[in-house]
C-alpha cells in the first residue's frame, strides 16, 4: 500500500520534473523560431499560474471560497512599485517586502472574514479587496487610476531581469518552488488536517483542533504566494495597475481555478494556461472572442464539472482500466 503510493508519487514527480525541463527550454526554442515576443507572454502565463495556484490552495485545500485574492496580488505589485519609487530597486529587499505586506494584510482580513461562512465569506473577502482597490485609485501619489509605473525592473543580483528569457526563468523558478512547497504542505500533517477541516469542520473542532488557526494559516500562505506573484507581475509590465486589485481580477482568478480543477495541485496552473492561451488564440481569430470564451466555459461547466485537471485524469484512469 505504502509502496504503491510512493511509486505513484515518484512517477508524478518525474513527470513534473519533465514538464518543468520542457518549460525551461521554451525561451531558446521560441528564439530559434524567431518568436521572441511570446517569451514575455509565456512569463505572464507563469505568473498567473502562480497566483491561481495560490488561490487554489485556499479554495481547494482550505475550503474557503475567497473572492478577494486580487487584494494580495495587487498589494505585492504596489509594494514593489512604491519601494522602487523610494529608490529601493533590489529584488532581495522589495520582493520579500511584497510577501510581508501580503502576509500582514491576510492576517487582518482573514481574522475578520473567517468569522463568516459560505456566501458571506465570499462577500466579505470581496469587500476588503474593493476597499484596497478604491484606496489605490484615490491615492494620487501612487498614480491613482493610471497606476504606478516602475522605472526599471528589480535588480536581482547578477541576473538581469530586463532580459526576457531570464525573467521567464525567474518566474518559472518561483512557480516551481511554490508548487513544490504546496506539494509538501498538502502531504504533511498540516495539509492533512486542513483537508479534514474542509471535509468536516465541526468534527475537527470536536477533536480539539484549533480550526480557526489552521484556516488562517492556510489563507496567509495563499496570500504570501499571491504577494510574490504580485511582485513578479509589477516587474513584468513595469506597472502596478489598480486593475490588479479590481474584483474582476479576483473573479478571473477564481475562474482559472475552477476551470483547471479545484483542489488539484496543478489545477490553478492548468486553468491559468488554458484560459490565457484560449484568450490569445481566440482573439487572433475573432474580435468577438469573449463570446467564444464564454461558450467554452459553459462547456467546461457541463462537460468537465470537476475542472480540466480532473477531466484529463479521468480520461487516463478510464484508459488504464481498459488495458
Amino acid at each position: 500500500m505504502n509502496s504503491a503510493i510512493y511509486r505513484q508519487s515518484t512517477r508524478r514527480r518525474l513527470l513534473a520534473a519533465g514538464v518543468f525541463t520542457l518549460l525551461a527550454l521554451l525561451p531558446p526554442a521560441l528564439q530559434a523560431f524567431g518568436q521572441e515576443f511570446y517569451i514575455s507572454f509565456a512569463a505572464r502565463v507563469l505568473i498567473f499560474a502562480l497566483v491561481a495556484t495560490s488561490l487554489n490552495f485556499v479554495v481547494g485545500f482550505g475550503g474557503m471560497v475567497a473572492f478577494g485574492h486580487a487584494a494580495f496580488f495587487g498589494a505585492g505589485a504596489y509594494t514593489v512599485a512604491v519601494l522602487m519609487e523610494m529608490g529601493i530597486a533590489s529584488a532581495f529587499v522589495s520582493w520579500p517586502a511584497a510577501i510581508a505586506v501580503a502576509v500582514l494584510l491576510a492576517h487582518g482580513i482573514g481574522f475578520v472574514s473567517l468569522r463568516t461562512r459560505g456566501v458571506y465569506f465570499i462577500m466579505i473577502t470581496l469587500a476588503f479587496a474593493q476597499m484596497l482597490y478604491y484606496l489605490a485609485i484615490s491615492m494620487k501619489t501612487w498614480g491613482g487610476d493610471d497606476g504606478l509605473s516602475l522605472a526599471t525592473r528589480s535588480g536581482f543580483g547578477p541576473l538581469d531581469l530586463k532580459h526576457d528569457p531570464t525573467f521567464y526563468w525567474v518566474a518559472l523558478a518561483s512557480l516551481g518552488l511554490c508548487l513544490y512547497l504546496l506539494d509538501r504542505i498538502t502531504h504533511a500533517r498540516f495539509g492533512r488536517v486542513l483537508q479534514a477541516i474542509r471535509e468536516n469542520e465541526s468534527r475537527m473542532e470536536g477533536l480539539g483542533y484549533p480550526v480557526l488557526g489552521y484556516k488562517l494559516l492556510c489563507f496567509v500562505i495563499g496570500a504570501a504566494m499571491a504577494g510574490l506573484a504580485g511582485a513578479l507581475i509589477a516587474n513584468h509590465g513595469q506597472l502596478a495597475s489598480p486593475n490588479l486589485l479590481q474584483w474582476t481580477q479576483s473573479g478571473t482568478l477564481l475562474v482559472m481555478v475552477i476551470v483547471g480543477g479545484v483542489g488539484a495541485l496543478y489545477g490553478g496552473a492548468v486553468g491559468a494556461v488554458v484560459l490565457l492561451l484560449a484568450e490569445e488564440v481566440l482573439a487572433h481569430y475573432t474580435t468577438h472572442w469573449h463570446a467564444a470564451l464564454g461558450l467554452i466555459l459553459l462547456l467546461v461547466v457541463f462537460r468537465a464539472p470537476k475542472g480540466i485537471a480532473a477531466w484529463v485524469h479521468g480520461l487516463f484512469a478510464r484508459g488504464e482500466k481498459h488495458e
Binding site: 479554495v59 471560497v65 475578520v112 468569522r115 463568516t116 461562512r117 459560505g118 456566501v119 458571506y120 465570499i122 462577500m123 466579505i124 470581496l126 469587500a127 476588503f128 474593493q130 476597499m131 478604491y134 484606496l135 484615490s138 491615492m139 494620487k140 474584483w247 474582476t248 473573479g251 477564481l254 475562474v255 475552477i258 476551470v259 479545484v262 468577438h288 469573449h290 463570446a291 470564451l293 464564454g294 461558450l295 467554452i296 466555459l297 459553459l298 467546461v300 461547466v301 457541463f302 464539472p305
Partner: protein
Amino acid sequence: MTQLFLEQALNGLQFGLMLFLLAAGLTLVFGIMDMINLAHGSLYMVGAYLAAAAAAASGSFVIGVLAAVAGTMAVGALLELAVLRRLYTRDHLSQVLATFALILIANEAVRMVWGDQPVMLNAPEALAGPVEIAGFSYPAFRLLIIAVGVLVALALYVAVTKTRVGMWVRAGASNREMTEALGINVKRLFTIVFAVGAGLCALAGAMLGPLLAVQVGMGESILILAFVVIVIGGIGSIRGALVGSLLVGVVDTLGRALLPWLLRSFLPGEVAAHLGPALAAILIYVLMAAILFWKPSGLFPARG
C-alpha cells in the same frame, strides 16, 4: 447646507430604491434556489439597451420602459429554462463559472448588436426640468424614479407578504425541500420568480439609463452593489433587501457628498481632498464588513 443635505438624501433614496429593484430578484433567486447568479447585472444591462432601442423606435419613454420590461422578462425566463435550471443542484463554484460565462456572452452579444459606444436614452421631455418642493428645486425625473421605486417596492411587499404565490416564495426561501414536499411546484415557481426578477432589473436599467451611461459593462459595477445589499440584508429576505438597499444608497450618496466636507473641517485641505473621495468609496464596504462582523448572516436572516 440643508438644501445640499436634502438633495443628497433624496438622491440616496432614489439610488437605494433602484438598487432594491435589482436586489429583490437577486435575493429571491439566491434564497430559494441557493444559486449565485452573477449574470443578474447582465439582465439590467439588456433591459437598459432594450429600453433605449424601443424608446428610440417609438419616440416614447413609457413604451420604451414597458417593452424593455417585457423583453427582459422573456430573456430571463428563456435563460432560466435553457441554462440556469441545470445549475441548481451544482456547487457554488460551478454556478460562479457558468454565470461568469453568461456575462461574457451577454456583453459580447450587446456589443455585436449595438456596438462599443454608449447608447443614448433620454428622459421624457416633460420631466426634463426641475420642480419646486417646499422652497427647493429637485429634478422632476429623479422624483419620478423615487415614485416608481416606492410603488414597485410596495407592490412587491404586498405580493410577497399577502398573496398565495408570495407565501410559496417565502416558504421556498426558508425551506425548499419542505415546500416541495407540500406539493408546490418549486421549479415553475422559480421560473416565474426569475422572470419577475429580470423584469425588475430591466425597470431599474430603463429608469437609471437617462442618468447613467447605457454601455457594455454597466451591469458589473452595479451587480457588486446589489450583492453587498443582499448580504447586508440577509440572503433570501425581501425586507432585508429593502433595508439594505436604502442603507447602501443613502450611505453611499451622502458619504460622497458630505465626507469631504466633514473632513475639511478638522483636517488640512490637501489631506482632506485626497482622503475624502477614498473614504467615501470605501464606506459601504466598511459598512458591510462591520455588519457581517457583528451579524455574520446579515440583518434579517431568512433561514431560521
